[in-house]
């Protein structure tokens, strides 16, 4: 399991490849990998968004992410998990969140990915502030999907 916060842009697919080769070596044990990548859009609620500030609660954020992944690991027996979340200043097209789950069979990976994503969105202490053409706006609430 690797859970990390990053204050610089990262390539989610390079992260997956690196993690996978470090963890698994010659592999052959997992049959399924499910991945979710959340990316910054240049629009939200009808407005052009120039960039994003992602505030978090150092200490609690990591703790909540760990708790969420541990909880999912107890419910679905997956083999490995990689969760990376950005903090700080983010530009459009940059990756905000990466969730990758490795399991023997497909349903554990798919279910756990979705569950971790929803739990993260509703429980992990992150807050988005958008820079619009006129001023700033705190995102008040996550969309339901």
């Amino acid at each position: 399991m690797l859970i990390a916060l990053r204050d610089r842009a990262f390539d989610p697919y390079a992260e997956i490849s690196r993690f996978q080769s470090e963890i698994w070596g010659p592999a052959g044990k997992y049959g399924a990998t499910s991945v979710f990548v959340g990316t910054m859009r240049d629009f939200n609620e009808g407005d052009i968004v120039q960039n994003l500030w992602l505030e978090h609660y150092p200490g609690m954020t990591e703790r909540e992410l760990s708790r969420i992944v541990d909880e999912a690991a107890q419910r679905w027996s997956f083999l490995e998990a990689l969760v990376i979340h950005r903090v700080g200043a983010i530009e459009p097209s940059e990756c905000i969140v990466l969730i990758a789950i490795w399991s023997t069979h497909r349903s554990a990976a798919l279910d756990a990915t979705r569950h971790i994503l929803e739990a993260l969105k509703h429980q992990a202490p992150f807050w988005k502030k958008e820079t619009l053409a006129q001023g700033y706006r705190w995102v008040e609430k996550n969309t339901s999907g």
């Binding site: 609690m60 993260l120 969105k121 992990a124 807050w127 502030k129 008040e140 996550n142």
Partner: protein, 77 residues
């Protein structure tokens, strides 16, 4: 007692401060604490609270030395 109170995101901006150390005489719950720093107003329903980095409710007990954080709904991911 001594309590460290922290604010995040839009609430931080609204409060005009990131954190404060308060030393109330008598205080039992999160809601009491909120009232102490907000002129007696009750904790708004749409605010979240954590004690020592774990989610808590308006009625959760606050103890000497706790770090209590208040923040709006989270919007990560």
């Amino acid at each position: 007692m001594s309590i460290r109170v922290r604010y995040f995101a839009s609430l931080r901006e609204k409060m005009g401060r990131t954190e404060e150390l308060i030393s109330p005489e008598d205080l039992a719950t999160v809601d009491d604490l909120w009232r102490a720093v907000n002129e007696g107003h009750p904790l708004p329903e749409n605010l979240l609270c954590a004690i020592n980095m774990e989610y808590a409710d308006a009625g959760t007990a606050v103890h000497d030395g706790d770090e209590v954080a208040f923040f709006p709904p989270v919007t990560g991911g």
